[in-house]
Amino acid sequence: MKEDQVPQDKENLNEGKLAKLYYATDESGHYKKVNSVGWEPETVAMQQAWDVVNNEVEDARLMVIEGKASPVLYYLKKNIMDFSMVASYVGTMSFVVRLHTKPFFFNKLSKKTLEKYAYTFRISVEEFTDIERLKQKHAG
């Protein structure tokens, strides 16, 4: 890649926080360092991965509102985790976490277990158990 080919695509997901370092060649083929604000193919691929995540979060949100799932499922998706990952944070086994995504088991959880979940998802227990706030789209 020649230095004048280093992509500077304005439409990107870097929030102005990151201009990545690329290695590009000068006229004689020797390398130098050039910053890039963004590159479209990467932005497309990254956006696509986030679309998948966001769809799953939205599906989980609807299920929680309809009473088919517990907030565990919503915040699990929201934090891009899976059952086994949440299980190792909470200190249990993944099938237990799977059970806790059912409202029936969720409603029986002790304060201590709720605290562990809330800590894992980086919210307070009140926020975690408050299903009302999930009724607004894009809830925390």
Binding site: M1, V6, L13, N14, E15, K17, L18, A19, K20, L21, Y22, Y23, A24, T25, G29, H30, Y31, K33, N35, S36, W39, E40, P41, E42, V44, A45, M46, Q47, Q48, A49, W50, V52, N79, I80, M81, M85, S88, Y89
Partner: protein, 335 residues
């Protein structure tokens, strides 16, 4: 608690951390040098190893390898520690900072809130350097960032003790012994020999240059095997692996070419510069592939024809890389 630390931005986190740490200890290694001496380049496609249900293609060697090989070849002794207690891990860090010693560590990108949100997936093998503490916040040199930044105690604890694969377990490392003299020329050749050997001589079709041919064969059939939606997702994943923060979309090929370029000047070896140019051309082809794949992802239509074309592009790169690394192997063999 702050040491006089010079931060330089880099393309890849592991080689960047090496370069920044070494500079602090008085050894000047530019990032490409660290990457090349540590034999950072590779390719493998293992359809049975999956991440979120998508097979992993990697354009570089596994995490930790570059650091290990680099310090062995230059003769640096590294102290590396793992912890089971978060409190001990943080007090140990504070102790090192009190001594004025910057510390490299493994973190999960998910908890590094100075990075743009779009990058913060659960990637648990990101290397950063912590070099001080100010007003209760840790000062961070993250190699992919342009400048130094900082992070709260709580976030750093979470980043160091993230769960999932692999678990960083608070791992931190720092050099304890730096050699006065080191065999630079030998280190460069050994690094090259290992990379070119791996790229051309592993007798399993999943690894090295021929791994890319294998991937192209699989990729050709993605639309009929996986259906439209999944084929597009898998392709998008491939682009992300190929770009991986700052490789210019060429899966570390430009970084390695920069290493060959610098080495050719250092060792006054013209053939190496020729190979560097070949590598640049290979990288450009990979970039074209990513660009075309990006188009396909954007339009969200996969058909057998486009995937065949994409597969052809990859296969061409594979054959070229086989040749390039074979030549590199022959050059480095006798050294």
């Amino acid at each position: 608690m702050q040491v006089n630390f010079t931060h330089k931005q880099s393309a890849h986190c592991e080689s960047g951390v090496i370069s920044n740490l070494m500079r602090f200890h008085g050894l000047d290694f530019d990032e490409p040098m660290a990457f090349g001496i540590g034999s950072g380049l590779f390719f493998s496609y293992m359809p049975f190893v999956k991440l979120n249900g998508i097979p992993v293609a990697t354009y570089r060697i596994w995490p930790g390898h570059i650091f290990k090989k680099f310090s062995n070849r230059i003769g640096i002794k590294i102290e590396s520690k793992k912890f089971s207690s978060t409190t001990t891990a943080m007090t140990e860090l504070d102790k090192m900072l009190d001594k004025g010693q910057p510390v490299g560590m493994l973190t999960s990108v998910f908890y590094l809130d100075y990075l743009p949100a779009a990058y913060r997936f659960h990637f648990n093998a990101h290397n950063i350097i912590v070099f001080g503490k100010e007003n209760g916040r840790y000062l961070v040199s993250d190699p992919v960032m342009e400048t130094t930044t900082d992070i709260a105690y709580e976030d750093l604890v979470r980043a160091r003790f993230a769960k999932g694969m692999p678990e960083p377990s608070g791992r931190m490392y720092y050099p304890i012994q730096i050699p006065g003299e080191f065999p630079l020329e030998k280190a460069i050749w050994t690094g090259i020999k290992e990379t070119s050997d791996r790229m051309t001589r592993i007798p399993i079709p999943l690894f090295g240059a021929k791994g890319m041919t294998y991937l192209s064969k699989r990729l050709r059939h993605w639309p009929e095997r996986l259906g439209n939606r999944k084929a597009i997702l898998w392709l998008g994943h491939l682009i992300r692996m190929q770009e991986e923060i700052g490789t210019g979309g060429a899966g570390f090929r430009f970084l390695y070419a920069a290493f060959l370029d610098q080495s050719s000047t250092l060792l006054k070896n013209n053939e190496m510069f020729d190979i560097s140019k070949q590598m640049t051309a290979n990288g450009d082809l990979l970039r074209d592939f990513a660009y075309y794949a990006g188009r396909v992802c954007k339009n969200r239509t996969s058909d057998t024809k486009t995937f065949s074309e994409l597969a052809d592009m990859l296969e061409a790169v594979s054959h070229r890389e086989q040749k390039t690394f074979e030549q590199l192997y022959q050059v480095s063999k006798s050294k």
